[in-house]
Symmetry: C2
Subunit: 459 residues, 2 copies
């Protein structure tokens, strides 16, 4: 097939995507109408069933695979070549609260101009529909799909995917593939597509201190007995100081610094530091950093220690002279390759003991490993080129992003190169009221996915 | 009058106290039946009226003096000598919650055996009734009261008496007296009466940090922008470390150490350190201190810095990866002579600025000055002797206690020596459900107060 033939085919697929747009918006409305709140296990089984039904309607075999938590919907359809493309998505959504801030019912897809509103319309039901719509358009034009397609649609991404590594280990053979499109994809404010090649890991812990059986009057005990709030403050202050350096011995041992190639990708990224400062109303960046490549490097290639919450004693109005017996803090550590969440808690325990805080308990709450795909993988370079062709702009390549997800087992257990594609935009308001996508982004997300499907067979 | 005459008179007063006991328990029930919760301004004006009515029924003139907050009930009755004795009490009480833990209705005086239960029965309505009952018994036996009596009954003691220093300044002439009986008095576990001669002061502050307009995703901002919780933790950790030394420059400048005489009083106090450890379930005392006079000195003669509460970010179950824009802490500083609450906030401000925490705001919430009465004042020694005569045991003299109250203006504005007398016991459960007094303690509190009234004229 000549390049002209290929372009002609892709043009026909694009035309088919436009022809079937209303159908897929309707399907998106059908999926968004089924609440599926993993934090409350609300509608999860129903949404798994619906997802399987929709896949079967498109000619996929679909199984609902039990895990320890929400089931995985696994869809499959053999293609012409020996290549297999796996879509990782999730059918669960964040809770819709606060409801009063929504301009339309969160579980009713509502169109206003070219924007579609619903809980999950961007994260992640809209993205899932782009995969179905793209594969259908390719099939309609070519009569068959040139690669085998697998859908891995999980139902607990919004609560940290605790059963996904285990689920992958349990059903590893079924998930075998040659490449993976990750659950999300977005354009930036200028409309440039983003190509994400890695995610930081996460180790979420809770620190607790209990110094006494009951709270004490501060006039009575203030000079006499340990105060849980003070113990917690002192223990935390040994973990990181205002220099932002994490003081836990061994914490940085497995940190792999950014490579020259990473730095080149970072250098080619646009600078959004002024917008960031304006959005959050901060005076500036930590350590006096200004925008630029060094800020972008620090934002993703450095591990972090973030206090997420502090609780102790009296928190109401006015004064209560209590000496608290109990205090707790939640913290997340964002991890970079090759750190692991499993190594962090023992390091914290040893550090607290060495600093004299045997009384401060540390409990592992949740975690995922950091992971990166190889930028030089032909599949990755193909996806970048396909995005450039669809959007008419060079994609922003993100060798690593600050957030976390269950990327590691897909790359390291299933051995897949992983790319991104999809329909998000910077104002999609994921996890917030009035979550939305824009129809032009939805179309381009379908087009980019379709390009990956058609070009993958030729790699 | 010979000593024998005096003893005979005091015996007749004791007998009269026993004869009128039921009447005064009834009056106590009447006062407890009127809720007077200053924290909610519930029943305050009604209870002030009732207190004035009850004083008038006993032959006192009674005025209700407005302050910026709850009014002061001021009662007065001229006596035979030129001496004037002032009773400081309060008619307000703590909220009764949690209601489900009460065994009887909190605003219904309930007798079980020799114990009387009600909110305020010990703190402070029972104490107020001991003053009325004592003065009435003396009057009934002698035909008149040998000293002039003044009642200073305030209505916001449970919220820190914010308007009392101002109220004393405003009505200073009317409160002129020669000695004062403070609002409380108690026996210890062995039945020994306690004589309190001073109270620590208090400076209650709130620290707040606001680093951004809104919370941020920790994956996005963790390496980039300031975290309010970290700023708070670091700022607090500069105020006091695990050595318990307060690091704020100038904080200790006005601390007056315990004198030899104070140490002698402390040495004669019983050692309750084992009971304290058992009650609170702590492993031991701060800094490895054991019981004994050094522990008792530290308990009251050292100022403290106590974190009362910490609040920031996500405090619910599970994990939320948020970078908090806001954090706050409540702290109280217990102060010893000659520290003042007014000096503390500027010292804290200067310290935080010097340590690089200009972003941490500190707000003064409430405070009282520390104060001590002179142990060598003849009025004080007379009260100690009277207690020994009533209880048949040498009183425990407390040159200073750990708690705080509006003692300073009575000693330093009105120039009064101040003693304690009353009906409390270690299990009175003040501020807690099932607040109570025991009738034998109630009787002894009345007897001790009556002794002070009769002997004061002869000083």
């Amino acid at each position: 097939m000549t390049n002209t033939d290929k372009q002609s085919i892709e043009a026909r697929i694009d035309a088919r995507i436009h022809e079937t747009l209303d159908h897929w918006i309707e399907q998106l409305g059908r999926l968004c109408a089924q609440p599926s709140i993993s934090a409350q296990h609300l509608g999860i089984d129903e949404c798994a069933e619906l997802t399987a039904t929709m896949l079967r309607e498109q000619g996929y075999s679909a199984d609902i695979l039990p895990t320890g938590g929400s089931p995985i919907v696994f869809g499959e359809r053999a293609g012409k070549s020996e290549k297999t493309l796996l879509f990782y998505n999730h059918y669960d959504v964040q809770p819709p609260e606060p409801l009063e801030l929504w301009n339309s019912p969160p579980f009713t897809l509502t169109r206003v101009g070219d924007t579609l509103y619903a809980r999950g319309v961007s994260d992640d039901k809209g993205q899932l529909i782009t995969r179905m719509a793209a594969a259908a358009a390719v099939r309609d034009v070519l009569g068959e799909i040139p690669v085998s397609i697998k859908y891995f649609v999980e139902g607990e991404e919004e609560v940290g995917s605790p059963n996904i590594p285990g689920g992958i280990a349990a059903y590893k053979e079924r998930f075998a593939a040659d490449g993976c499109i990750w659950e999300f994809g977005s354009v930036d404010y200028s409309g440039r597509p983003e190509q994400t090649l890695g995610m930081r890991g996460l180790c979420y812990v809770e620190f607790t201190v209990e110094t006494a059986k009951l709270d004490c009057h501060s006039g009575l005990g203030g000079s006499l007995i340990a105060n849980a709030a003070w113990r917690l403050v002192w223990a935390l202050s040994t973990i990181k100081g205002p220099d932002e350096r994490i003081r836990v011995p061994g914490f940085y041992d497995n940190v792999r610094p950014a490579t020259e190639r990473d730095m080149a990708y970072l250098a080619s990224q646009p600078d959004h530091s002024d917008e960031f400062i304006a959005t959050y109303g901060v005076k500036g960046f930590l350590l006096g950093r200004k925008g630029g490549v060094e800020l972008r490097r620090a934002a993703v290639f450095e591990p972090t220690a973030t206090i997420n919450g502090l609780t102790s004693g009296y928190q109401g109005p006015g004064a209560k002279t209590v000496l608290p017996a109990y205090a707790s803090a939640k913290m997340d550590f964002r991890l970079v390759p090759d750190q692991t969440p499993e190594e962090i808690v023992p390091l914290l325990r040893a550090h607290l003991d060495a600093e004299g805080f045997e009384d401060v308990a540390v409990r592992y709450v949740a975690g995922v490993k950091p992971a990166r795909t190889d930028p030089d993988d032909p599949f990755v370079q193909m996806s970048i080129q396909a995005a450039e062709d669809v959007y008419g702009m060079t994609p922003i390549v993100e060798p690593l992003i600050g957030g976390s997800g269950p990327l590691h087992p897909f790359i390291h257990e299933l051995g897949l190169p992983v790319v991104t594609s999809g329909c998000g935009h910077p104002e999609s308001r994921v996890h917030a009221p009035n979550e939305n996508i824009r129809i032009p982004d939805f179309i381009n997300g379908i087009r980019h996915t379709a390009r990956i499907i058609t070009r993958f067979a030729d790699l």
